[in-house]
Symmetry: D2
Amino acid sequence: MTYSIAILGASGYTGAELVRLIATHPEMKITALSADRKAGQSMAEVFPHLRHLDLPLLVKIEEIDFAGIDLCFCALPHKTSQEVISNLPKTLKIVDLSADFRLRDPEAYEKWYGNPHSAVEMQGEAVYGLTEFYRDEIAKARLVAGTGCNAATGQYALRPLIEGGLIDLDDIIIDLKTGVSGAGRSLKENLLHAELSEGAHAYAAGGTHRHLGEFDQEFSAIAGRPVQVQFTPHLLPANRGIIATVYVKGDAQAIHAAFAAAYADEPFVEVLPMGDIPSSRHVRGSNFVHIGVTADRIDGRAVIFCALDNLTKGSSGQALQNANLMLGLEETTGLMLAPVFP
Amino acid sequence: MTYSIAILGASGYTGAELVRLIATHPEMKITALSADRKAGQSMAEVFPHLRHLDLPLLVKIEEIDFAGIDLCFCALPHKTSQEVISNLPKTLKIVDLSADFRLRDPEAYEKWYGNPHSAVEMQGEAVYGLTEFYRDEIAKARLVAGTGCNAATGQYALRPLIEGGLIDLDDIIIDLKTGVSGAGRSLKENLLHAELSEGAHAYAAGGTHRHLGEFDQEFSAIAGRPVQVQFTPHLLPANRGIIATVYVKGDAQAIHAAFAAAYADEPFVEVLPMGDIPSSRHVRGSNFVHIGVTADRIDGRAVIFCALDNLTKGSSGQALQNANLMLGLEETTGLMLAPVFP
Amino acid sequence: MTYSIAILGASGYTGAELVRLIATHPEMKITALSADRKAGQSMAEVFPHLRHLDLPLLVKIEEIDFAGIDLCFCALPHKTSQEVISNLPKTLKIVDLSADFRLRDPEAYEKWYGNPHSAVEMQGEAVYGLTEFYRDEIAKARLVAGTGCNAATGQYALRPLIEGGLIDLDDIIIDLKTGVSGAGRSLKENLLHAELSEGAHAYAAGGTHRHLGEFDQEFSAIAGRPVQVQFTPHLLPANRGIIATVYVKGDAQAIHAAFAAAYADEPFVEVLPMGDIPSSRHVRGSNFVHIGVTADRIDGRAVIFCALDNLTKGSSGQALQNANLMLGLEETTGLMLAPVFP
Amino acid sequence: MTYSIAILGASGYTGAELVRLIATHPEMKITALSADRKAGQSMAEVFPHLRHLDLPLLVKIEEIDFAGIDLCFCALPHKTSQEVISNLPKTLKIVDLSADFRLRDPEAYEKWYGNPHSAVEMQGEAVYGLTEFYRDEIAKARLVAGTGCNAATGQYALRPLIEGGLIDLDDIIIDLKTGVSGAGRSLKENLLHAELSEGAHAYAAGGTHRHLGEFDQEFSAIAGRPVQVQFTPHLLPANRGIIATVYVKGDAQAIHAAFAAAYADEPFVEVLPMGDIPSSRHVRGSNFVHIGVTADRIDGRAVIFCALDNLTKGSSGQALQNANLMLGLEETTGLMLAPVFP
């Protein structure tokens, strides 16, 4: 059977990545693509790398007939997303890639995003989309909220450790390095090639990045007490890929064992041999996560490295993985593409 | 049915690219991998991006039992390749990615590669692997010689024009820009990141690049008279992708029409609308070719742009496309992966 | 003596490059900096790499008192530049980095730039700023028009050959590759890091790039007859640097000898040994030009390579060299900075 | 007066950087250059970006007559350096860029570098080359040991804080990102452009990087008790530049004030306004250090960012700054070059 798929917000990078992945998905067909400002254009004009595909024209959302759609990916900016989703048919399966339904608490949402939530009633319905930890809920969900790409990376590196009580909850530092595509296709001076290449810098330092809302919510829930991590994202001169370096107080061997156990049956999470260090290059363009653990020379301290592709496992690949579950398909369908290296 | 595949020379970039592509090929399974100096290692050690795959260990060629192998990809250096292939079973289907069987004339081989050919008797048997132009012969071949990546790019841009008598044969210039993976995984000072990034330069200028042997052979055969082109390759600070800028004397509209006709039914060759300019970024990681034509302000002159990924369509993707034909499979099997952008 | 310098348009890359160079110029002091939209800010805010310098605040042009200014660099967009310069004191020495005074013929200006020239009377006064070929006129000029960066590169590679009657004037091709800073600090989608890195493409192909106006003017004047070249610029995934590959019909040895003679006494132009190939990396951040010549395998054809840094020798370095001459200083003052590599 | 300068090990990146800087130094002249394997070649062959300079040929060390040399830079690998320096005239002023004389304790040297020190008697004589903190000793020294580039970066970010008793000495994390030129011009697979670009990864994790020997020595000496930091270096896809992200427990305002006080009169150290974040791009090619401080959302924790160019302030620029002091010159001579951006 072939499922009919709509993608709202197809002119951004996560939209294009969904199209790329679905292009070789054997049981999905894209039947509607929206892009507000670029409505009327073809995908080949907006993303020439997709020109070989036979795709519908970009239209405005209101032109889409959702009657025949089996599942809708919503790759719109936050705030817009909640407004649009409120008006979609209440029976439509939706995977939202924005930040709008990640935080269950409306106050937390308003704190991190600066505006009151306009679809509070749907916040309760939404399931948090970190597949490996919400698999059963996702399979039954109508609305799944894709995670932040940085938030996903940090959680793969920390959830089993908090769950297992293996680390000091008051001394967790996530120093994260991300490629530039995570910032989207927006016209900002600091995203120009001439400004961004050949160097690196931190941004949203000191605990101000919005993905902290997800860390706070998830880690506190697991721990059963408030947990606040330190988190500093840095922008790399690379297009794709995140590498998180996570500093914890705990036993490195126990940590490695916990990862090995937690991810033993996961198709997309690879735990490296003790001491091996992953690279963001080696997951590029794929849905895989690579995790490494190293003991520090100071007793009782460990460093964890977690690499994934922000556009794939951190966003559109995760979304497709969840969509597979929601449609009753094999979770890995269309997602086993090997990383592209070099 | 699943075909059993061997890859010789799996520790280089074209070997790794074959593994990447075959990883999601539904009718092939890799059962043997060789790498001389790295024999005994796993692919995960040599190429960590492939660590999720269940692959055989790297072994020496002599350790492989070819009895159960349906098709063997040979991704060895030239000269080594002819020696190895001479000793393989004479019934084994082989796709050679080296330069050893591209030139039909032993003298031409010796002229461009500097050593006499040691398997002259097999040169006649080998079919030149430019799929779109040798499809029928390839389907029946036992030994197919993959083309040079630059040679492929130039031929997509010129064969239909020479065939159609549309251009002046004495004034053809191919100014080509290629990513660095085309140079392989060799330890050379000029391939270091610090040396290669942030700039560009030509190499093998003035008509000394070995791929000219292929241009001479193929273009002269089509034209029925000697044809010599000018060819200057440049090294780009990018890992993958070739863009050839081809200067010809001929009518741009007729040239565009000839491309449209020649490639109308080709699954991997996209002819852009007149005046559109392709980019090497937009074919990255894929088997697609993008061709554009622009008329010059000087009457009777045209510029052709041709983009492909040197590791995929220029090498391992082409090899897999040919292997599909040789095994009686659908030519596009496992090769419809969309380009990775950004 | 220290000369008082104003820079109009200091918030763009050529403005910043002027500040960088003048920072270590022993006989110039920047006393006024303008930036229309960023007036009121400090240079440290607009360009943090200049934060160690003691510079005046950015102001609007009308706030500058030109009475004490010895020389004014005008780094404004074309069209704006002619309007601003018309209103500056008629005795002020000016080096204009825009395109507004490069073309002596008002019709040619309108043809290439799309608007009538609004300061036609000053077009005659302006001297074309290619220092090595207009040195005496520049030393006496009040208004010097900096060349296009591509136009400079092509002229270094061709002027001595046209002058010497060494090449076929009807068959000249300039295939040029340029770093992205040449496009300025403008917010365009195709200049984003995610769009521009990891590949290359041509733009303004087919004889439509505005710098052709300069080639036509200069080459025709030297030849004493109309000369039209073919010119295809390509955008590189690098910030600085141009490499032009120039295809001509002529004798390579004679061409090399002509360069050696023409540039023998030039402090900034290096002619490489016959057959050596320059790289844009090796002139980065400097005012030097590297020229190489290679004979083609086809008799009577040669390929010339010319490398320079678009922001330095192609723009702000050239401007400073001209300013030195106009102020009676040693031409090389402040400009002998060695290239930055790697 | 012009001082006569020798550079041993001129074919590596730090050697070339010394030549670049001295090229515009008004009181130094390079009179001898050595390079073991490349003896007999010109610098133009080994580093084409320096071809405009009139430099002596590369020779073997034993061919150099040190009689007329005023100061010798030694840019050799560690271990080689101590052997060579032992045999140089005992009156020659030397700035060593290797690791050989950084650690005062022979046991510490052997622990971190794996071999016993063969010039123990000179270890006591050598002065540690972090100019801002050893200025007076350096001015009087005969032998100065340049610091590790990472070690310099971490110390600029931490010395004033340890000195001032402002931070918890048992919880210091230096997460550092460095450009690839820090690894030198060595032929290693992981330094190839195809391997290193488009991603990032840590190396020498868990407290194994040799620069920890310097941190241990210096921080413990300041604190008057053993201090061990955590240190994780990462390799960036950029050629130059280090950005260190330093996590400390202490008051951000007090920390910022301590930096402002400590570096108030330093010509090369810029302390950014509270909350501003430096970038490695903005010190590129220069001798400047940019330091920023941000308070974390968790009370009593701060994040410090420190950026410098590993080849300049982290190595050859620092060496030249020290040489100026040793020769009685103004410390900043030849070093005020502004950073190159973009």
